[in-house]
Every structure is written in C-alpha cells, then in structure tokens.
C-alpha cells in the first residue's frame, strides 16, 4: 500500500478517536449554552444563540457559588499544608540516614495503593468523635492525609537526586538544618513541587467518595457533591446540569491549558519503566 494511503487512513482513525475522546465534553459544552427547552427539541444542536446568562444563573441561583467556594477553600488549604508537610518529610527521608528511615518510607509509600474503603469507616467514626464530622476542616484534614503518600513519594525521589555537595557547602557556610531545607532543598525542588501541587489540586478537586461520606450539610457541599445532588434533584434540567458541569471543570481546564506538559509528566512519571 502506498505510504500516502496508509498515512491517510491512520490520520482518519486518529481523528476519529479524538472525536471519541473529546466528543462528550464538546457536547456538554454546547448544551451548557442552550436552554433545556432547546435541548429537548434537538439534543445535538449548536448553541445559537449562546445563553451565557445560564452560567450566572447556575452560580447565583443554584448554590453553585457555595459549592465552588467550599471546594476552593478545602482544596487550597489541603494542598498548601500537604505540600509543606510532605516536602518536610520527603526532605528528611531522602537526605538523612537513620535507622527506620526505609521502614517509615515504605509505610507511607505503601499507603498509595490502599483502597479508600479500608479507612473510610474508621475515619467517619473518628471525625464524629472529635466533632469534625460534616465539617469542612475535617474534610480538609482527611484530604491532607489522603494525598500525603503520593506527595512524599514524588518529592522523595526528586530530593534524593540533589547532589550532596550542595548541602555540605551550605552546612559549611553555617546554615542550620531548617535553613538548608528552606533555602536549598525547596528552591531546587520547585519543578517537582509544582508538579505535586498541580496533581493534588486536580485529584482533590475531583474527589467524591470521602466528601460524600463526611459531608451532609447542603451548605458545606463540595463541587462534586453539588453536581451529584443536582443530578438527583433536577434530573430533567439537562441544560442547567450541563452548565454546572462546565463550571466544575473550568479550573481543571485552565490548569491544563497552562500546565499541560507538566501535568502529563507528573501524572505519568511513575508508570514509565
């Protein structure tokens, strides 16, 4: 078969697959700009005219602003604390030799494959006991613990690759261990830190299981919960749900638009052998 023909067929298949992969989102995006009445007439029509005001409606009238802010509050706090705590632990585990170092690392690392089911019931019990149930602060704490193993794993391997000479030089210059962490390790590890921040933000923004178990108050729902409730309540208001979906994925799309390379590398790095 001539090379041009094979090329054309391959391109056709690839474009077809792209339509398959991106299709659902494009469809949802179109529906988010059409009213439910328009949609019922033709589910696959183009948004003419585009009803931008629906986004305003979703935000103000359907509690989306509440869900969005709750998610933002929880995710930003969790990621902030997570990054610092995780970096401290990773720095320590990668650079200091002491008995039990590998044991602790292994404990934390193995938690990456723990199924959430093994902790969810007991976490529920614990949070109830300490009055943190149905509480955004409680959820934030759980989120920190949830992503800690992955963060430590990614940062530890990065910190370990920093040449020791830098640390020796800093010590000779009189820096304390804490100063070394802040002034040597962290700045150099900025790329890896950025990766974990982006990764954790996306994973926690989308997190559903823990949220659905630990939050019941309408006013405290995070975005995934909000959307789900929407689905149940207003099953037929496809237009509004679509708009809500778009609001939910906008932060992700923004992050992806600016950091696609970093994000892809961060999420896939562990899998390439």
């Amino acid at each position: 078969m001539p090379a041009i023909l094979t090329r054309a067929i391959v391109m056709l298949l690839l474009t077809g697959y792209t339509a398959f992969a991106a299709g659902p989102f494009v469809w949802a995006a179109m529906m988010s700009l059409r009213t439910t009445t328009e949609i019922s007439r033709n589910h696959f029509g183009l948004p003419f005219p585009p009803h931008w005001e629906k986004f305003g409606q979703a935000w103000f009238n359907s509690n989306y602003s509440v869900y969005f802010t709750n998610s933002a509050y929880v995710v930003v706090t969790a990621v902030l604390v997570l990054t610092i705590v995780g970096a401290m632990a990773a720095h320590c585990l990668s650079r200091y030799r002491f008995r039990g170092n590998r044991f602790i690392y292994f404990l934390i690392f193995s938690a990456i494959i723990f199924p959430p089911q093994i902790t969810i019931i007991a976490l529920f019990q614990t949070l109830v006991t300490y009055g943190l149930y149905n509480n955004l602060a409680g959820l934030t704490l759980v989120y920190i613990a949830l992503q800690l193993p992955l963060t430590v794993y990614i940062l530890e391997s990065f910190f370990a690759r920093i040449p020791s000479d830098l640390f020796d030089a800093a010590r000779m210059d009189g820096y304390s261990e804490w100063a070394i962490f802040w002034k040597v390790s962290l700045p150099i590890a900025l790329p890896a830190l950025a990766t974990t921040v982006i990764l954790n933000t996306i994973l926690l923004w989308n997190e559903f299981l823990y949220a659905v178990v630990l939050i019941t108050d309408e006013a405290k729902r995070t975005l995934p919960l909000g959307i789900q409730r929407f689905m149940g309540d207003q099953l037929e208001d496809v237009g509004m749900i679509a708009t809500g979906l778009m609001i939910a994925i906008i932060p992700i799309v923004l992050i992806y638009a600016f950091f696609s390379e970093k994000l892809i590398q961060g999420m896939t790095a562990g899998a390439v052998k």
Partner: protein
C-alpha cells in the same frame, strides 16, 4: 548528606518528620487498625463495641451472596478494563510514534478524559447512554443499526460492560501517553540495527519494540487493575450498583451497608473492608512478583 560516620541529627529529623507522621498515623494508619478492630465487633451508635470474634467474617464469606456478586463484578472489571485500556493505548501510541503530524495536539486531546472528575464523567455518560436521545443510540440509529439500541445502563446484561467501556474511554488516553514516552525512550540505535537486520515495521514491532517496552506495559496493567479494584465514584453516579446488582462493586456495597441501610452496624462493613484490603494487597504483591521480569533490560 551525613556520611556513615556521623550521627544522624535526631532533633532535625523529628522536626521534619513529625507533622507527616502525626497525620499519617492519625488519619491513615489508625483507621486501618480501627477497621480491623471494627470487623471483630458489632459497632452500634451510642453503645460500646460488642466483641463477636470472627462471626462477621463467617457471615460475609459464607452467606453473603451480594458480597460475592460484587466481588465477581469488580474482578471482571479489573481484568477486562486493563486489557482494553492498555491494548488500545498501545495501538494509538504506535500510531503517534510513527511521527504522525499533530502528535502533540493528539496527545493533549487524548489525555483530557483522565482529568475530569468521575462525577462529571458519570453524568456525561448517563446522557450518552440515554435510550431515547443519548449519543450512543443516536449514532446506532444514524447508522441504521436500530436493532442494536439498548437501555445500556438499565439492562442488567449490558450495564457492567457499559461501565467498563466508560473507564476504558477515560484511561486509554493516559496509558497512551505513558506508552508514547516509553517508546520515545527506546535506544534508536537498537531500532536501526533491527532495520539493517531486515526487519519491516511489523517485525520491528514484534521482535524488538514490544519486548523492550514490556516492563512499562506490565506496569500499566497493574496500575489499571488496582484502580478498578477501588472504583466507587463512577458506579455511584451512574447506576448505584443496579440494575439488580449487575454493577454492584465491593466499594458500593460497603458504602450502602455502612451508611445507607438502616442496620447502623459498622462492624460488618468493616469486615468487608478488611477482607477486600487483604485481597487487593495480595493481588498486588502476587502480580508484581509474577510479572517482574527476570532480566534487567539494561540499555
């Protein structure tokens, strides 16, 4: 950092490690232990835990049909999905590897499904699978294949495959990106040597390329397997385990028993969690041991 002769700076170590260890112990390690503890008790609200020994385990393993049904569903999912996701991804990666124009665009486009919350994905696909106006049946009708239209999520026979299809749709892009990176990291001179050794495209693929990316392929299969064993969000949004337990997974069953059904006993669901935990960890250990290549593919 500190050579073997120096004593480790314990004060610093504690300062650095303590916050993480406190969080880990309180919110990860302790809950695991507590769950196992729960599994040996009847845990009712406002009452002290009642020790029941292995009674929960006995009930679970010998009489709980729903549990076993959910195990079967989850295992089917965990075995079928990886095969689709990785197989399809390999084909796509090879297509891009052959320096197709627009490779960068394709890579970014195909990766997007992975970034979305399962909630969003779930809702989208509930719509796609809608019998009357969903894209799935609409396409079939468009192609004149009306007889193939189904109530995909409402039919016990098609519900699980429909869900498996969704996760494949999500994760194929991710696997493809990983495989593409693996392909690009292959030493070009070995491939050129194969060309000189009279290898056409398919021979190169079969004899050289695939054997060399085997570690990555296996890695992806294991990762996918683990992911499907844990799945909850997608099922909860789309079918909640129905119809008729056909999509009930261990995680949805556990959730129902712990938080929805009015039994209030947290001991039994903890047993489910404990058993499932042991099963997953054994599978992972077994798989990695089994699939670990004897040889180091050093190049």
């Amino acid at each position: 950092m500190n050579r073997n002769t120096e004593r480790p700076p314990w004060a610093s170590i504690i300062v650095f490690l303590l916050p993480a260890l406190v969080i880990y112990t309180a919110l990860t390690a302790y809950p695991v232990v507590r769950t196992f503890w729960n599994s040996l008790h009847k845990v009712l609200p406002n009452r002290p835990d009642e020790f029941v020994g292995l009674a929960n385990y006995a009930t679970l393993l010998f009489t709980d049909d729903i549990f076993w049904r959910s195990v079967r569903n989850t295992l089917v999912w965990s075995v079928a999905s990886p095969l689709f996701e990785v197989g399809m991804a390999l084909l796509l990666a090879l297509a891009l590897y052959a320096k197709v124009p627009g490779a960068r665009f394709f890579r970014i486009a195909w990766f997007t499904p992975v970034l979305m919350s399962y909630v969003v994905v779930g809702i989208l696909w509930v719509w796609i699978y809608n019998y009357d106006w969903g894209a799935a049946n609409a396409s079939l009708r468009f192609l004149g294949l009306d007889s193939l239209t189904r109530a995909w999520l409402g039919n016990p026979q098609t519900a699980l495959p429909a869900l498996i299809f969704i996760t494949s749709w999500m994760w194929t892009g991710f696997n493809m990106v990983v495989l593409l990176a693996a392909l690009h990291s292959l030493p070009s001179e070995v491939i050129e040597a194969a060309e000189l050794d009279n290898c056409g495209w398919s021979a190169k693929l079969w004899h050289v390329i695939i054997p060399l990316i085997k570690p990555t392929l296996l890695n992806l299969l294991v990762l996918s397997f683990i992911g499907k064993m844990k799945i909850f969000d997608l099922v909860w949004i789309t079918t909640k385990g129905g119809p008729l337990w056909s999509t009930e997974t261990v995680s949805t069953y556990l959730y129902k028993r712990a938080f929805e059904w009015s039994t209030f006993d947290l001991g039994y669901p903890s047993t489910i969690a404990a058993v499932w935990f042991v099963i997953i960890m054994s599978c992972v250990l077994g798989l990695t041991r089994l699939l670990r290549s004897r040889d180091r593919l050093e190049y």
